[in-house]
Amino acid sequence: MQNPIIDFSNFSFQYRAQSNPTLIDINLKINSGEKIIIAGPSGSGKSTLGYCINGLIPHFYKGNISGNLWIEGQNAANLKIFDISKFVGTVLQDSDGQFVAQTVGDDIAFALENDAIDQKEMISRVEKTSRLVDIHTHLGSTPKELSGGQKQRVSLAGVLIDQVNILLFDEPLANLDPATGRYAMELIDDLAKNTGATVIIIEHRLEDVLWRPMDRIVLMGEGRIVADTTPDKILTSGLLGKFGIREPLYVTALKYAGIKITEEMHPSDVSLMNMDTITKPLQHWYEQTVENESNLSSNSVLSFSDVCFSYSAERVVLDNISFKICEGEMTAIVGKNGAGKSTLCKLICGFEKPDKGTIALFGKDMSHVSIRERADYVGLVMQNPNQMISQVMIRDEVGLGLKLRDIPQKEISERVEETLRICGLYPYRNWPISALSYGQKKRVTIASILVMEPQIILLDEPTAGQDLRHYTEIMEFLQMLQKRGKTILLITHDMHLILEYTQRAIVLADGKLICDNHPAKVLTDDRVIRLANLKETSLFSLAKYAAISDPFEFVKKFISFDREARQTCQQ
């Protein structure tokens, strides 16, 4: 048997500022050349495990370590972070933040510069490495000129240049659109094949990571390893749901159809799955299930007609956009990075003015209504709660908008309390915001918009970077607001979200509106998927493999069934 390249034995870690250990009694061996997923909900210790491997613990984050960690046969306790960086390359979640230098070439060379490598050698190594990840034509580009996927390739080249044996990815898919995420997984897989590197991916989006075969999944829960086995086994174990990891949608569909999933079916890859025992019950389920049509009002609350916008003459950001949003709908705006989604939001809020066309709220033309007055109709919740919070106490933060509108103190208190109750924040009303979790902070920012009673709430990536529990928490909350009559519009990359919660999706690609339809339609339409960097839902693939007559109808039925199932589950 070979020696493991990474070997945790009875390893525990406790952050200095925390009262309980974050990692408890970890025993984990990773062999050279393996491809491993470390999965787990927020707070399970999966990121901390990553920090131990790349040396940020104990170099940057201090705390108590007990037990041993061996990396490439050396005791990690005796290694400096610089030594570790010679064999462990880390690609962080935020590839924009990881981009330290001014241009692609400089950034890829960063590690070599720090090693004081001769310039001639650097240039040839940068050239070679950039070819490996196919970014060699962009060496002179600045981060602003690159897409999210390209930035990630730069990060990857930046660690590959050191010829590391271990590649550690911290949530590599979090900031990528679905198609780019898929491409990233292919790239990682090919690199592993070509270089023989060991790949460790920290990620909770299991279905997306499993796009390429992986050797093992290490499931973390509350600081311990709760499972360490093959993807096929873990998908049949029932542990995923218990530890807040979303199982692939096609697996859920199989369960709904009453099919018992076994390891022999090879459930980790829908395209290789053994369909013999699946086809019949699935077809049966399809025929039995009736779709529940939801009735929506047709009262238009927001409409765009022929809206054009550009920041400069060279590039049109939005090109003749027309659509209508009806009262009480939850609609998603999707499309690849730079397709114009954020600009669309800015136009709705009045931060930018259209070059042509009209935007109307409740039938009223908004061209001469100020930002502040528009806020009475539509409220914007930014992606990162830290970008909105300016007060120390929850109560003050939520009441800020009212205070700025010179509303009497008594009315402010009443409305703040009422809002806090709706948002489930009432017990914390006198807490400082710093004591809240990320999900709760997000709630505070939503509450601070809600308190101004806008009819439409606009959210930029409300669930980005959230694990299943927080995701569900935020989305259920938004759904509750929707049921109270609010109209919800959100920008997202998350295809699950679109399927689970929205009634409609508006798809933008290169500034044009290419589709405005039911989510099932969007995620099964080849042309739309290609143009907007989305990906076909695995349900659609499953339906095709199971020879279901109308795969689109199958997806629709699944959505309707799933919504009902989750509802009964909650009651």
Binding site: Q102, A109, M388, S390
Partner: protein, 278 residues
Amino acid sequence: MSTVKMLSYIKRDSPVHRLNGVTKLITFLAWTVVCMLSYDTRVLLTAMVFSLIIFKLAKIHLKEVGFILVFICFFLLLNDAAIYFFSPEEGVRIYGARHLIFQISDRYTVTQEQLFYLFNVTLKYLTVVPIALLFLLTTDPSEFAASLTGIRVPYKLSYAVSITLRYIADIQTDFHNISQAQQARGVDLSKKTSLKKRISGIAIIAVPLIFSSLDRIDLISNAMDLRGFGKKEKRTWYSARPFQKADYCVITAVVILSIIGLLITFLDGQRFFNPFIS
């Protein structure tokens, strides 16, 4: 957004762009020293002609710096006006002669000497400004960091400069977004509101900006550590430009010209060229 863009590196291929950052830094410093010390009209005029020629060589178009130039000219005029306002006889004192043109009041006379003095002051700035702009516009920031190390500035410091340049644009975008979102919540920064409200409005924008920038800094320092920044005493630079013949030529020329300029300036015992007393 746009003002900073105007003062940042413009990628282009020109003889000036091809020079080493250190060469450009030395030229800029020497130029500034000579022009600030000298009030000699002959030296300043020659320098100005040179700076215009170099500007042309650098292929920077006037419209790319138009806004900044107008801005600087405005301040120059303001500066001239202020000098005249506070000290209308400064020229007379310096040149030791008085050729009155006309008189506004007892105190405010208009003399040939004063006008000549103001002309020289304006000329000084008009000579330095194009060179300063050129330095900013034609030096690649990462190469500039390399250049600073070239003149023995510790590399951690020069990298800090480079990283600041890298993130200024991002933080500006953050500021823009935060400020818009807070305006929608009712923050009013226009002149319509009281000063007190405006100040508290700025705080409401500044706090989130600071916190989100701190998040960023955390991330960058992690990213840098993980890739071995600060490991060694020395560091090399990917985009460092080796010294070439042109660089040696330019530096030699700059040194010789500076010495000549200073000699002409100081040879007659004072910094001023005096056409009034022969």
